[in-house]
Symmetry: C2
Subunit: 768 residues, 2 copies
């Protein structure tokens, strides 16, 4: 105690000499930092010395002023690393944190950066800027947090790079629980949201603003000028759940999800870019629920999403919906948007489920169609003609179409008053951006308050010249929307340096683990032919390719302990295995993830291998997640269990891999869990996982299968079982598929193995 | 056609001469009025000539400007009467209607005054002022309308007198269906809302702003400086169902209902007066549902309402409530209010019904308690000490009490941190208004944004001196809140001129109907003893008292047609009958209402009479309503049917009388429907009707009663059956009572008549 008092006093003396000026101190350790914060006055600048700061929990509780904020900054931006069990909390007002890099660690709390200290010490007018948070994940997927929590009012997140969140919880969460947090006018500006991999279940938005229980509250959060790149966490990139939020000038680039007005009303979605790759159906656009949203001046390119992931999905609501379900869409304004190569961009009545009246309670039936909606002055161009610009999931009787233009392509489509076919071409003005090559000679329709839409996508005036689509002047200069210098910190680039992968040869008398450790990310281990004796698990925590030497065959014989894996997949372990024989002694696993602390994703690709005599060919533990697991041209023989990914039994909607692919494989004498891929808990809006099982053969499998089903896919949304042979498997069913979802089977040869049954509606626990 | 064109032309010529000036025309008929409107330009004044305008449907569609509105006014305010099938619709902008009197008629449409012509012609910045709408009722109670419908934005209703609506539908209704109608900022100012009698069922609010389906919309309607006098239509005087509405400086005087934030959020209820009479438990205060309401500076006096009708009722919500049910109360601010003689003013968890979990679906259970509420700086004074200032219908764990003051009265009450007992007295400063006689020496608590509460109830500043309760300075001058010259039109007074009632003697050889017609409202007919032979129904359409001469007995013998009443109660018929014998021939009714077009209420009081040999003693038809029906010291003998008020079988929550009273009566040989009083349809918030059945005797009744119940009260909320004798009535039950409601029985002597059974939860059709 005494010592601290002394320090404070000493510091006070030191700073006394500068009393007329603002203080600028460099702090080199956590104690100094704390004392500086305690003594901070308006205008002070506290500089954290360059280096690694480990296990620090910064409470930046101070009172700056609008004219003289208190600034906490890195000595050199990007050279101050926050690692270990660390976080930052703002409390008070007019505070700025600038230039930090959070990495190699995780928050001890519910947030990495929190705009409050506790219930009563809240931040207002505070800024977190020019910083990085990367892969700052909790140790386990179910251990939820948010990386940035907004509370209070007028706080800002700007020019940050944020990527790699794998655990449960939206990356950014805005809270409105209490009068102190409404009318918040927070700003999320100029950030680069880098890749967030699929989480394998819900609660992995990049931004969530409010929640259903605060969905009646006025919010006015502004999300503007950000780049969202491969934000693939879940079906919603941004989940707007309160009123009056604004989304302007953002770029959504190859992000598997949508901007969704999930709860709340009267949001503005203006001048954003939604860029797809022309193939990936998971890349969505805007999904609309509730009242009074304005979608104007947006540009949609090369989007192939359907239904929930349509370029524009306007949902059906539930009549008198419960607070946490689907409000009817009313009073939507969709005007001046441009859709290039998006096929059927407008889907109305998405989520209609009247045909499930028999199996669902009435309070779950989305039968309330969009009402009082106006769709006007939009431009649609499709290279390939399309019969249905508008997809009617339910009757579209509450939508008025006015002065929309679609290019002629010799294909007739359903006639809508207000959608005009016109012969026009495109020209490319910059990467991803196309405009009509000549002007569209149609006057825009001027609906209620359309005079307030004064600018176009590029910010040019609509008041002097106006036109159909997102851009008024087809000769305008387009911005380079993917110029990354416009987003994130000035000092940080996510461009990976290219490094040629090295090949390392391994002989049978060398220690394979040593060689793996020696290899760098992306390297290739080439095994000579012959017997490798493996006595303990091989630990994989980088990207590595292991294969047999051309024309030879490496045989890996595992004599490790019971219930241990030959290959243990650690966080960030990405293993490709090619042309290798794996052999156990009946009690071990060929592959498994870590049982605990699987704080980041793994991946596994197996080609041309033979796997035999294991207790499990693959065991994926709870809270582990791989974006892809594939087995091709591989035999799995004489194993008690096959591929098991079924531990998410708490039914929160989670699963263990996004894509499980089994092609040209041969399974013989696998006694149970031959393929067991499970997702527990139902929420109609999520869309994983994906099983592709083709051209494979199963014989004498499933003898011990307790549920009598050979291929278990319960809860998995996309299942394709095609062109396989099932012969002499003593089970009741080959598979039980979910007809209401994207499950299907084709051209399978089944003998003496039960059958494939499709049930339209499977009973599942709802997760909301 | 030609003629109209000519008129237009002629008018154009006339007005040409004044082209540089604004035109001022007096119109004397509807054609002229229409033409004047068609030609109206900014600044024009159209004057309607004094007199009665019958069956006119005015469409005031024109375009004024802010500086130069177009005015439609009465030649002399109050001397222009709109009668018959008439109404007024505004369309366009900056229009004023001034000085009209709507009476003796009804609207052909959904509104008397409508701020739109149709879906696309809407009023903005229009004013209806200095006018009267009185008893302008549709012919039938179920034929719904609103007297004033608000659409568009910035419309005003000011200085009007509005009273006597009896048919279904809120008197004023604000609509928000569509973007054109949100952020409306309508103003309802300085009006006098005179008596609206109980409707006998739902949908009789004085003001309803929005509805559940638009409850997410921003509204900002202002209701200020109005007097609400005996607005007794239903349980809600004002039903606020959208966001951001404001209620300021209104006086609620002896009005049976509450100001209710039924749907929507963030309303402001500031500086209003709620004045009761110290007895009537139907006079309520403020009932709170949903989020973020601010209740400040209000004054509550002599209110005895409980539960839903408490001075402050804070309801429990339904978790994740459906849109049309009860949202949880959160973030309520209740500060600086004064409660004088309101006993237990604060009731929390009102409407909790967890104990009905067995009989109601989960989506009906109000178990979500108020959360994040603050109750601070309020002043409570009770003449008689009270143990429970706070009534906890459910646990009050989400409410923080701070610096509230209650007068000491020697009675202990439950200890709340934040409620302080203090010894202080009151002094009267004007009628109904009392302030502490000495200043309360407690500093107010300053909660979040309390600094924005800058004024007190009287408009005095809180920034210089602040204090507990609605008034900062106990020596301040109080306004005369009941000075009616501050409300309504300048030219109109609702003060009834006192007139002494006249007594008219009637002999047996005079025609009674003639005498009734000759009598004025409130007169007394005294019948001499002996036989009056009545051949056709006596029609009652005024207030009249008919009695036998002192010491004599008039016998009224009815020989009218089958199924006709001896006394036919017409709209506004208020009949008191005293000491008379009524005799039929078995096929007629003693009393009935009109079968159709019962456009206003009736009343019936029977004392000391004998009624025999009728098919019905009383038959009240569907859509008829009496505030009171009573039988005292009266015998009903040898009738096929007794008192029947049971035709509201479409189950919309309606019923036929508010109070049915039977005291000291004798029923003998009434074969069925002895008393049949029915309310169909259940909505937890409504509170009628009321049956008091005491000190009466029933013998040999109910022999033909199909349902086997003697006294039928299904759906009636308040039932008191006490101190009666039931003897030898061949029924299964004397009565089947509703335990969950205010039904009770006591001290009845029952022999050979079945029993009285109480069921806790009756099954009823819900009406929402």
């Amino acid at each position: 105690m005494k010592r601290i008092f002394f320090l404070v006093f000493a510091f006070a003396l030191v700073s006394c000499s500068k009393i007329s000026k603002n203080s600028e101190v460099i702090v080199t350790n956590f104690s100094e930092l704390k004392i500086s914060i305690e003594n901070a006055r308006p205008g002070d600048i506290i500089t954290m010395a360059n280096g690694v700061w480990k296990d620090i929990q910064i409470i930046f509780n101070a009172e700056g002023t609008e004219q003289a904020p208190i600034i906490l900054k890195a000595e050199s931006p990007g050279k101050v690393f926050i690692e270990g069990v660390s976080n930052l909390k703002f409390g008070g007002k007019y505070l700025v944190v600038d230039g930090l890099h959070f990495r190699n660690g995780f928050s001890p709390d519910k947030a990495v950066v929190d705009f409050r200290v506790n219930d009563s010490i809240i931040a207002n007018h505070c800024i977190f800027t020019n910083s990085v948070i990367k892969a700052f994940n909790k140790m386990q997927r179910d251990d939820a947090d948010h990386w940035i929590q907004f509370w209070g009012r007028h706080n800002t997140l700007s020019n940050c790079y944020i990527s790699g969140k794998t655990n449960r919880g939206p990356t950014i969460r805005v809270f409105l629980k209490g009068n102190e947090h409404i009318y918040n006018e927070h700003k999320i500006l100029n950030n680069h949201f880098g890749p967030r991999p699929p989480k394998g279940g819900a609660s992995a938005e990049t931004i969530q603003i409010g929640d259903s229980s605060s969905s009646m509250s006025p919010s006015s959060t502004l999300v503007a000028k950000n780049l969202f790149e491969e934000c693939n966490g879940e079906v919603e990139i941004i989940s707007s759940k309160t009123n009056f939020n604004e989304f302007r000038n953002n770029v959504f680039y190859k992000s598997e999800g949508s901007l969704v007005t999930r709860h709340g009303n009267y949001s503005v979605i203006d001048s954003n870019y939604f860029i797809g790759d022309g193939k990936n159906e998971n890349i969505g656009g805007i999904r609309i629920i509730n009242t009074g949203h304005k979608v104007t001046n947006n540009y949609f390119y090369n989007l192939k999403g359907k239904n929930f992931r349509s370029p524009l999905a306007v949902m059906n609501g539930i009549p008198k919906s419960p607070l946490n379900r689907y409000g009817q869409v009313t009073d939507l304004v969709l005007a001046y948007n441009t859709y290039i190569n998006c096929e059927s961009p407008w889907q109305f009545g998405v989520g209609v489920n009247i045909n499930q009246k028999e199996v669902l309670p009435l309070s779950e039936i989305r039968s309330a169609r969009p009402k009082r909606c106006i769709v006007a002055n939009n431009l649609v161009f499709n290279e390939i003609g399309n019969k249905s610009i508008v997809v009617e999931h339910d009757k579209v009787d509450g939508v008025i179409f006015k002065n929309n233009v679609v290019n002629k392509r010799g294909v007739d489509f359903k006639d809508y008053a207000g959608i005009k076919l016109l012969d026009f071409q495109l020209k490319q003005v910059t990467e991803h951006i196309y405009l009509p090559s000549s002007s569209i000679e149609i006057e825009p329709f001027i609906g209620f308050e359309f005079e307030n839409i004064t600018k176009d996508l590029f910010g040019n005036s609509r008041t002097s010249t106006n036109g159909i689509g997102a851009v008024v002047n087809q000769n305008a200069n387009a911005p380079d929307i993917l110029d990354k210098s416009n987003y994130g910190p000035s000092w940080y680039s996510d461009e990976a340096k290219l490094r040629e992968s090295k090949t390392i040869n391994v002989t049978t008398n060398e220690n394979l683990q040593n060689k793996i450790d020696e290899a760098k990310n992306g390297d290739i281990l080439v095994l000579e032919g012959g017997l490798f004796s493996i006595k303990t698990s091989l630990s994989i925590s980088k990207t590595i390719y292991i294969k047999s030497k051309e024309g030879e065959k490496a045989i890996l014989n595992y004599s490790g302990e019971k219930n241990t894996p030959m290959f243990q997949l650690n966080p960030n372990g990405v293993l490709s295995l090619d042309g290798v024989v794996l052999k156990g002694s009946g009690s071990q696993y060929a592959f498994s993830s870590l049982k605990e602390n699987m704080y980041s994703h793994f991946e596994l690709k197996v080609f041309n291998c033979e796997i035999s005599d294991f207790y499990y060919a693959l065991k994926v533990y709870k809270q582990s997640f791989a974006e892809r697991i594939s087995f091709e041209n591989t035999s799995i023989l004489n194993c008690e269990n096959g591929l098991e990914l079924s531990e998410e039994t708490n039914d929160k909607g989670d699963y263990n891999t996004e894509y499980l692919t089994v092609k040209n494989c041969y399974f013989n004498n696998v006694e149970q869990n031959v393929i067991d891929y499970y997702r527990g808990g139902y929420d109609e809006s999520t869309v994983g996982g994906n099983l592709v099982l083709t051209n494979s053969e199963f014989t004498n499998c499933g003898v011990k299968e307790k549920n009598g089903i050979l291929i278990n896919t319960r809860g998995i949304i996309n299942v394709n079982i095609s062109d396989n042979i099932f012969k002499n498997n003593p089970v009741k069913l080959v598979a039980l598929l979910w007809g209401a979802k994207n499950n299907f089977h084709r051209n399978n040869e089944i003998s003496n193995s039960g059958d494939i049954v499709v049930e339209q509606n499977l009973k599942l626990k709802v997760i909301y």
